[in-house]
């Protein structure tokens, strides 16, 4: 009896404050929340990016431009939509990977970056900058537990494709 009374009390209190159930629902939806949906890019350091781009163009047929190449594919969730992954060699002196000292950085495609950032903050994940919005999507950078910097990208694939076409670049597919 005492137990039932306590539960009733807890329920009543929850209703009074109005947030207990809300927080349970939001925890559930966040648990189901899609986080990473694909690889958005792979970046790596090298001595001579221009030479490396040329090597990959000559021997492996990557359609490179000054930034590397863009791999084109169709989305797993909806094959009528294109998806893109950027591939770029960087100079060894690049500051782009900092504070990571690794030779590579991975970009992951995500859905709803703003919501994800809020979750990651609650989970105590290190976020190294603030959300940046550009024409082709939203970006933020975080650190994993072994010091790898991660780029999170909520892409706007339509704009991204247009930019490539404007630059006269061919994708690799």
């Amino acid at each position: 009896m005492k137990k039932i009374a306590l539960i009733t009390f807890a329920l009543a209190t929850s209703f009074c404050f109005g947030f207990a159930f809300k927080s349970i629902t939001s925890t559930n939806s966040n648990a189901k929340m899609k986080r990473v949906t694909g690889i958005g890019g792979i970046f790596f350091k090298c001595k001579d990016p221009k030479k490396v781009r040329e090597w990959y163009q000559t021997h492996l047929g990557l359609n490179t431009n000054q930034y590397g190449t863009v791999f084109e594919w169709y989305q797993g969730a909806d094959s009528t939509k294109k998806g893109f992954s950027q591939w770029s060699p960087f100079k060894e002196t690049t500051k782009y990977f900092e504070p990571s000292t690794k030779e590579f950085m991975i970009n992951y495609r995500v859905e709803n970056l703003e919501l994800l950032i809020e979750e990651l903050k609650k989970e105590g994940v290190t976020i190294t900058d603030t959300l940046q919005t550009v024409d082709y999507g939203k970006f933020v950078h975080i650190m994993d537990i072994e010091g790898n910097k991660i780029e999170l990208w909520e892409p706007n694939d339509i704009v991204y494709e247009k930019l490539g076409i404007q630059m006269g670049s061919k994708t690799t597919k």
């Binding site: 694909g38 090597w55 492996l60 791999f71 594919w73 690794k102 590579f104 991975i106 989970e123 537990i145």
Partner: protein
């Protein structure tokens, strides 16, 4: 010979870490990447009709992994290719370092080469089915 296809996509990204199990836990919890022993597979399509699937594998290895040798880098990229055997012949003619022989598995053919700066590259002609 023009518009000859070689690499068609990214087949995988692998990188070294101190504690692969802990890292996999972290990536699962915070980024939703659910990796098993062989990593996680990102699924996409090769065509707008959604008939041909494509996979990009993501995996973590321990720092002592021999898979990356002779490269000393902390990452390795796998590229999807068409007609691996013809490509290997061509690469040899072009003077590219081919590290091993073509290996055939259920899920495709593999070979390893080195790029101009000593990065080991895995080439994969997938059997996507």
């Amino acid at each position: 010979m023009e518009d000859k296809k070689k690499v068609t996509g990214i087949g995988g990204i692998f990188f070294k870490c101190k504690d692969p199990n802990k890292m996999k836990e972290w990536y699962k919890t915070h980024l939703g990447i659910d990796a098993g022993q062989y990593g996680a597979s990102f699924e996409w399509y090769q065509d707008a009709e959604g008939k041909k699937k494509g996979l990009t594998q993501w995996n973590l290895n321990s720092e002592t992994a021999k898979l990356y040798e002779p490269s000393t880098k902390d990452f390795m990229i796998n590229y999807r290719v068409e007609n691996l055997e013809a490509l290997v012949e061509e690469l040899k003619k072009e003077g590219v370092t081919v590290l091993d022989k073509v290996e055939t598995y259920d899920y495709g053919k593999f070979v390893h080469i080195l790029d101009a700066e000593g990065n080991k590259i895995q080439l994969w002609e997938p059997t996507d089915e």
